[in-house]
């Protein structure tokens, strides 16, 4: 990330503060670089078993088995999506029944009135005819929930992150596998953690400034 880190990550601000407060330029964490999926999985298992909590792996593609190796719990995204879809179903039915089968005002909430749409001898509440729109709105709201839920849970968009300062990290989207242990982890110790990472035989170890 030679260019983009300086643009997307604001390197100027921390530097200016560095000589004001000694603690400003503090350690974000240690980053170890690995060459293959097998190595990152093995390393993740070690770090997990050592009891670390604030750490992450960065890979160019989802590595099979890494979730288990890291001990990541299943996401609650599907639950959110279920309720998103349910909202779509209810909203679509209410919309169609109110606008096509009822003639009363919602003036207390908003100035709109429904209309008894009597057409081709069908009953007012023609549920079968209302199904296609109900289905489409269910899928629409569920899909929007997937997308925005994914961004929300992942904390994206976040254009700046300490890992982007590393030159090596540009290869996390190409062919290298990184493991980052954050300094805020209660078990973190600059020397002990570094020794543990060193034992995993990484290609490199880098200290990241926050």
């Amino acid at each position: 990330m030679s260019d983009s880190s300086s643009i997307l990550g604001s390197t100027a601000a921390p530097d200016r503060e560095a000589h004001l407060t000694p603690a400003a330029n503090k350690l974000y964490g240690l980053m170890a670089e690995f060459e293959s999926p097998a190595q990152i999985v093995a390393a993740a298992e070690k770090v997990r078993d050592a009891g670390y909590r604030w750490w992450d792996c960065h890979t160019p593609f989802p590595v099979h088995g890494l979730d288990q190796a890291m001990g990541i719990r299943a996401t609650i995204l599907p639950v959110l999506v279920f309720f998103g879809g349910l909202t779509g179903t209810i909203a679509a039915l209410v919309l169609q029944i109110f606008t096509n089968a009822m003639s009363f005002d919602l003036w207390a909430i908003v100035w709109v009135r429904g209309y008894d749409y009597f057409i081709s001898g069908k009953p007012m509440n023609s549920l079968p005819a209302f199904i296609p729109v109900t289905f489409e709105l269910t899928v629409l709201l569920a899909s929007l929930t997937v997308f925005f839920g994914l961004l929300l849970l992942n904390g994206l968009p976040r254009l700046y992150h300490p890992v982007f300062k590393s030159q090596r990290f540009a290869r996390a989207s190409d062919d290298r596998f990184f493991l980052v242990i954050e300094a805020k982890d209660p078990q973190f110790s600059r020397t002990k953690t570094e020794a543990m990472l060193q034992a995993l035989k990484p290609l490199s170890i880098e200290a990241l400034d926050s």
Binding site: M1, D3, S4, L8, S36, P37, A38, D56, C57, H58, T59, P60, F61, P62, V63, G65, L66, D67, M70, G71, I72, A74, T75, L77, P78, G85, Q96, T99, N100, W111, G114, Y115, Y117, I119, S120, S126, A129, F130, P132, V133, F135, E136, L137, V139, L140, S143, F147, L150, L153, N154, L156, P157, R158, L159, Y160, F164, A170, S173, D174, D175
Partner: protein, 488 residues
């Protein structure tokens, strides 16, 4: 790998055919795919295609302006054929737009890993095809300034859409389809945009790709949710893609006209849509893979698989044509019988037999492996299928409308030059967007392709392992003994 592998279409059940040829490292894969976007100048063919497309797009603009300024009388739509070219073209483009979501969603759920090389491509095609489709119903209403009546917007007239009408279902189906396809496409793009951001050589590129990559950093905690989100989108898009063309077919089937009022329409339309969509993917993929040297990813095996799907769906379409005739005879309804005999032997027989020869006879070539793996045969066959599928919609719309119950109201439909040029113009819209897509966005899903390489498996190279990744972007079953610590 010293010798270049070109043919991976062999059928040896003991050995899995590779999906990525001539690469055993991830960085060479990244470089080869990104070269399409990173090379200083695209091939000459890109400029030529882009130029022609842009000119046709201008033509579309002029035709639409002329239409809006003058009125729908400039078209050949006349009593009794009030649904002329606009509806034919709408169904044609929506149909093409179905292969993208089929490849990205249905093949994903079926764990067809070969989809990874063509899904990005096909999803882009879907989005642009649906854009082309959406133009026609909008300008077809005549009074474009009241097009907002199709949406349930509160207004001073207390007027609402009529939700029992298939035409309003169509509005919801097509707009939902466009939104969900775009989301699906974009979610897939995020990791690859991050790759392009990290490789960017200029500030403008780094900022542009960086903004759209949303700060993606390949975190495995993110990948975990990402994979689940992708699976959910696939599960939602699968019934959606089937519903959209079913709803399009309801536009016809819910009416009571002979030739339209049949229950086979939804499955028949969906099969036809997939058929035409795959033909369009082959039409686009064959030149693109040779122009940009993507033959290691869009391999002969990928093309062969697509041709197999074209054969299958083409045969389903042929079955549907035959079944329509059988039901017309079996129902004993004289109007239905007349409608079908008239289709095949009446005033539009020429269109009917073009349709049959392109859609039913042409794909039968693909029973032969020689034809399935011959670039020229598949390219020409895919073009013929595109032509045939346009004529299918022409036959359905025009023959039924021009001769219905009353002989006194029969007529013959003749398109005008505005009809033809508007249709031609939509190819400009499609081509312009597609060329821009090829130039500026990763045409192959880089992260997904890496995931299906044998090297992506953590057990790669171990004794007794069959060198094959379990799944890319798939559901990972959880074992109870796994330690759990992170709260999502």
């Amino acid at each position: 790998m010293s010798t270049l592998v070109i043919d991976n279409t062999w059928d040896d059940p003991a050995k899995r055919a590779p999906l990525v040829l001539n690469h055993d490292r991830f960085d060479t894969v990244t470089a080869e795919i990104c070269r399409v976007n990173e090379e200083a100048k695209p091939p000459m063919a890109w400029y030529v295609t882009f130029g022609i497309s842009l000119a046709l797009l201008g033509l579309l603009g002029v035709m639409v302006m002329y239409l809006l300024a003058t009125g729908v009388g400039v078209w050949g739509n006349q009593h009794p054929v009030m649904w002329g070219f606009p509806i034919v073209n709408f169904v044609f483009w929506v149909g093409i737009g179905h292969a993208g979501t089929l490849i990205s969603a249905i093949l994903f759920l079926f764990r067809q890993k070969w989809r990874t090389a063509i899904n990005r491509f096909a999803e882009a095609m879907t989005i642009f095809a649906v854009m082309c489709a959406g133009i026609f119903p909008a300008i077809h209403v005549g009074r474009i300034w009241v097009i907002w009546w199709v949406f349930p917007i509160p207004n001073q007239m207390d007027m609402w859409p009529q939700f029992r009408s298939p035409l309003i279902w169509d509005v919801f189906a097509v707009s939902t389809y466009f939104t969900v396809s775009t989301l699906f496409w974009y979610v897939g793009l995020i990791p690859d945009l991050a790759t392009l951001r990290d490789r960017a050589t200029s500030k403008v590129k780094a900022i542009a790709y960086g903004l759209f990559a949303l700060g993606w950093r390949g975190s495995n905690r993110h990948w975990h949710r990402y994979e689940r989100a992708y699976l959910l989108l696939a599960a939602l898009a699968t019934p959606l893609v089937l519903s959209v063309h079913s709803v399009v077919s309801f536009d016809f089937a819910v009416s009571q006209l002979p030739g339209w009022h049949t229950t086979i329409f939804p499955p028949y339309f969906v099969a036809g849509a997939i058929f035409s969509g795959f033909a369009m993917v082959v039409t686009l993929a064959v030149p693109a893979r040779s122009l940009w040297g993507l033959k290691n990813f869009i391999t002969l095996r990928h093309l062969e698989n697509m041709n197999k799907i074209i054969l299958l769906t083409g045969t389903i379409v042929g079955y549907a044509y035959a079944m329509e005739f059988f039901i017309a005879w079996y129902s004993g309804a004289i109007y239905e019988q007349f409608a079908f005999v008239n289709r095949a032997f009446g005033q539009y027989a020429w269109a009917y037999w073009i349709m049959i020869s392109c859609n039913v006879i042409t794909p039968q070539l693909f029973w032969f492996k020689k034809a399935r793996t011959s670039i020229w045969i598949m390219f020409i066959a895919s073009l013929l299928v595109n032509v045939g599928m346009w004529f299918e919609r022409f036959v359905i719309v025009i023959t039924t409308l021009s001769q219905d119950f009353l002989p006194s109201s029969w007529g013959y439909f003749t398109p005008t030059w505005v009809d033809w040029l508007t249709f031609l113009g939509t190819f400009g819209l499609f081509g312009t967007f597609f060329m821009l897509f090829i130039r500026y966005l990763p045409v192959i899903a880089i992260a997904e392709v890496k995931g299906v390489m044998p090297q992506a498996d953590p057990h790669y190279g171990e004794e007794g392992h069959e060198h094959e990744s379990e799944h890319a972007f798939g559901f990972q079953p959880r074992r109870p003994e796994d330690k759990e610590e992170d709260q999502s």
